[in-house]
Homo-oligomer: 151 residues x 2
DNA sequence: TATTGTTATACTCTATAACTATA
DNA sequence: TATAGTTATAGAGTATAACAATA
């Protein structure tokens, strides 16, 4: 567990496979985002905002961060012109956060770079193996989401 | 891409599946390590040291960090009694880093907690599906390692 | 001269606690 | 009183540049 992606042993157990794969994907995303001078968490923030204008509170829940952490995160993104705060019309305590055109362009670019990496990762798999892999990963994700919901 | 693991859509594409799965695994590992008051990168450091006594330089390469970052990382781990620096016998510039008994016990404990989570994640898959998933993840990891080596 | 590691510095990211404004 | 968000503060993590010791 937590061993670096540089040593993918011949016979991986499930734990090592999951850990090493997650480090590989995260490292790839970090590298691509870094090319546009943005961190992973900032990329996640922009990714969430692509189809929503959540409140600070909702962002904290979605990112699983303290609300004060989100304040700083949005501060830095706003300073770079990537997101905008707007006061809610219904509740004057509430702030809604949205992407600027520049933020949207940036997250689109990072997503495209990352997508190229993912394509390269599955290049050696047959079409059928790719579909199987995505299907099984999806089942793990859904099972986890349902487990959480049930609790 | 980079959307939070809280929304595993019904039909995932490869990019979303990879990203969401990696965030799920990393979040799980972070939570378990956090129970022992340790960060992911500290966990990775201890994980590497389980079967090696690398130099600071080698650690920087394995963790893909600047050597100055590793200095701080090892400083904090050493202050907590988890690792030890030892001077190399052959080259007096070189420092070798190793686990203390306490560090080994800690990383073993975190690994066990994480392993339980991984088991739960694949609980809904049949034995054969689990094997297939691990095999396909392994092929992606090996292909990536070979690609890097070839370059 | 080149390499190993540390130090100084600056920034991002994160949480806790205290605070303000609004409900 | 309760909730939404910010501020103050402290610490981890990271990189760049300059440095000391050794090769």
């Amino acid at each position: 567990m937590a061993t670096p992606p540089s040593r993918p042993a011949a016979d991986l157990n499930t734990v090592d496979a999951f850990a090493q794969f997650s480090f590989l994907v995260q490292g790839t995303l970090e590298r691509r985002a870094g090319e546009r001078e943005i961190s992973i968490v900032q990329t996640r923030l922009l990714g969430i905002l692509r189809d929503r204008q959540p409140t600070m509170n909702e962002l904290a829940r979605l990112l699983e961060l303290d609300k004060s952490s989100v304040t700083g995160l949005v501060d830095r993104a706003e300073r770079r012109g990537l997101v905008e705060r707007a006061p809610s019309t219904s509740d004057r305590r509430v702030v809604q956060v949205g992407l600027t055109a520049e933020g949207r362009a940036l997250v689109t670019d990072v997503a495209a770079r990352f997508e190229a990496d993912v394509s390269a990762m599955v290049e050696s798999l047959s079409t059928s193996d790719r579909a199987t892999l995505v299907r099984l990963l999806g089942r793990v994700l859904v099972a986890h989401a349902n487990g959480r919901a049930a609790v």
